[in-house]
């Protein structure tokens, strides 16, 4: 019939055979994209999902000296971990017996590679003058929480390293945006397990240039089982004059890539975590 139309119309036949495969091809591509879209394993967590901490004129100093002060603000973010069943918990306790010398009472429900966490943050300097700002992050797992301290030793202020920290100079009325990558938070998880496993110098372990898999001093204390992070505290630290203007804001979002099914859905029970604070230890001199 098609040929007849063209013959009667006195024209050459139009070769439109390519059109038919377009539909199944398009269907296949659309189905593949739909599958990818529906299988999105990213999840932004937190309540609210954009975490804000700020240092303002009303912020009390964490430490104050002769006209100078250190201001620290932090926000604790706990990942919504799905509560394990009693059977699963019992299995985790039984399994821990196979590993001698673990610094945990049982195997972790959230292991190191179960959740991949990354943090996007933006740092705002709302003042006219520049500020040197340190963004800090300290993690916790099901058992322990890293809590660095600020101390005065021989009239000098000694600030323990955070598990992740970076110093930024932010010009007046400017902002900067950075991402704490998955592997950096993975390193924080390993560091936390390492320091609670008896590493003699916590600051050496958590210092950002000392990567666990390369530093022989740390490697000896990495336990055979490393719990994954179940949350962290993110904050900003500012050192300066006590009377100087200080209006600084940190906004952060937490993205979790769920490798194993550990995050709680809306109707799931959330795992209540009570980690023990761990204060960094230093070697005896």
């Amino acid at each position: 019939m098609k040929r007849e139309i063209h013959r009667k119309a006195g024209r050459r036949e139009v070769q439109a055979r390519f059109v038919l495969p377009v539909f199944p091809t398009s269907c296949s591509i659309l189905c593949a994209l739909l599958t990818l879209g529906c299988n999105d394993e990213r999840r932004y967590v937190g309540d609210p999902q954009v975490v804000q901490v700020a240092i303002t004129g009303a912020t009390a100093p964490a430490l104050m000296g002769d006209g100078a002060a250190i201001f620290v603000v932090e926000q604790r973010i706990e990942l919504p971990i799905r509560a394990p069943s009693q059977t699963a918990l019992a299995d985790l306790q039984t399994a821990a017996a196979k590993f001698e010398g673990l610094p945990f009472p049982r195997m972790p429900w959230v292991a190191r590679d179960d959740l991949a966490v990354s943090v996007d943050f933006t740092l705002y300097n709302l003042d006219e003058q520049p500020h040197d700002l340190t963004v800090t992050l300290n993690g916790f797992n099901e058992f322990d929480e890293y809590v660095p301290a600020i101390a005065i030793v021989d009239d000098e202020v000694v600030i323990d390293f955070s598990q992740w920290e970076r110093l930024y100079r932010v010009e007046g009325k400017q902002r900067l945006t950075r991402t704490i990558r998955e592997e950096e938070l993975d390193e924080a998880a390993v560091d936390l397990a390492t320091v609670v496993n008896g590493a003699p110098s916590s600051n050496q372990v958590v210092y950002f240039e000392n990567l666990s898999d390369r530093d022989t001093r740390s490697r000896a204390f990495i336990p055979k089982v490393v719990p994954g992070l179940a949350g962290f505290r993110i904050g900003v630290r500012l050192s300066g004059g006590a009377d100087e203007p200080r209006n600084v804001l940190l906004e952060a979002t937490v993205k979790v890539r769920e490798v194993e099914d550990r995050l709680a859905a809306d109707d799931d029970e959330v795992f209540m975590l009570m980690p023990e604070p761990f204060t960094p230890v230093a070697p005896e001199l």
Binding site: M1, A9, G10, C27, L30, G37, D40, V50
Partner: protein
């Protein structure tokens, strides 16, 4: 070897050797035959060159083209695929860039002027808002049903105006970070499109263009969200 050579040089047994040269003899024979045939061939040529206005004129003209009519093309159920783009105005438009749009669907031409269709759409977008979070991509999935009123402009061309309604959904938890809380839930969508169809010189295939707008109440941020789409369509009518 010597026996073979003598066989080729001598005529075969039982045949007469050629006493005249062969070529002059054959030429003479042809001339004689031509002389006999010449009067008859001249008569035939004179008869074929007699005026025959009908036959000669028809041979020089192209075949007469018949007029195309709509019923030469297939009508009824059809499938279609579309590739285009979609952007947003209002709420979601403040945090998302336009992106590529794909659509597949099936439909039925009830009459020349009334068509029903259902389709599934997927558009890919990237956020474009101050961090955090860092820019990331998301997918908008729509399922819509539509009714089109078609106005034939010619046998091969038609304009149509369609109204559509369906459900939309953005998988993932990215958009709630920007305050679009209901993005993860299925929500009602509605809108309309204006289209142009052009039938190929094929019984089953046609091309089309479409542009339209759609409300996405589930993607409202501080303001209502309107999606604006356009695309090119390939259709196959069974």
């Amino acid at each position: 070897m010597s026996a073979h050579a003598s066989t080729r040089a001598m005529p075969a047994a039982g045949t007469r050797p050629c006493q005249w040269p062969c070529a002059p003899r054959a030429l003479a024979l042809l001339v004689a035959l031509a002389a006999l045939a010449a009067p008859a061939r001249a008569d035939t040529l004179a008869a074929s060159e007699a005026p025959d206005p009908t036959r000669l004129d028809v041979e020089r003209l192209p075949p007469e083209a018949i007029a195309l009519t709509r019923d030469m093309f297939a009508s009824g159920p059809f499938v279609f695929a579309e590739l285009g783009g979609r952007g947003f105005a209002g709420g979601l438009g403040r945090v998302a860039d336009p992106g590529v749009l794909g659509r597949v669907g099936v439909g039925y031409e009830l009459t020349v002027w009334l068509i029903f269709a259902v389709s599934a759409e997927l558009s890919l977008h990237e956020t474009a808002a101050p961090a955090p979070p860092a820019p990331a991509s998301f997918q908008l999935v729509d399922g819509v049903g539509e009714a089109r009123l078609r106005l034939p402009l010619s046998v091969r061309a038609a304009l149509w105006l369609g109204g559509e309604a369906g459900l939309g959904w953005v998988p993932g938890s990215l958009l709630p970070v920007y305050g679009i809380e209901d993005a993860e839930s299925l929500s009602l969508i509605y809108g309309g499109s204006l289209g142009f169809d052009w039938h190929l010189l094929s019984k089953h295939h046609s091309l089309g263009l479409r542009a339209g707008a759609r409300r996405y109440p589930g993607l409202d941020g501080d303001d209502p969200t309107v999606g604006i789409h356009a695309g090119a369509t390939l259709a196959y009518v069974f």
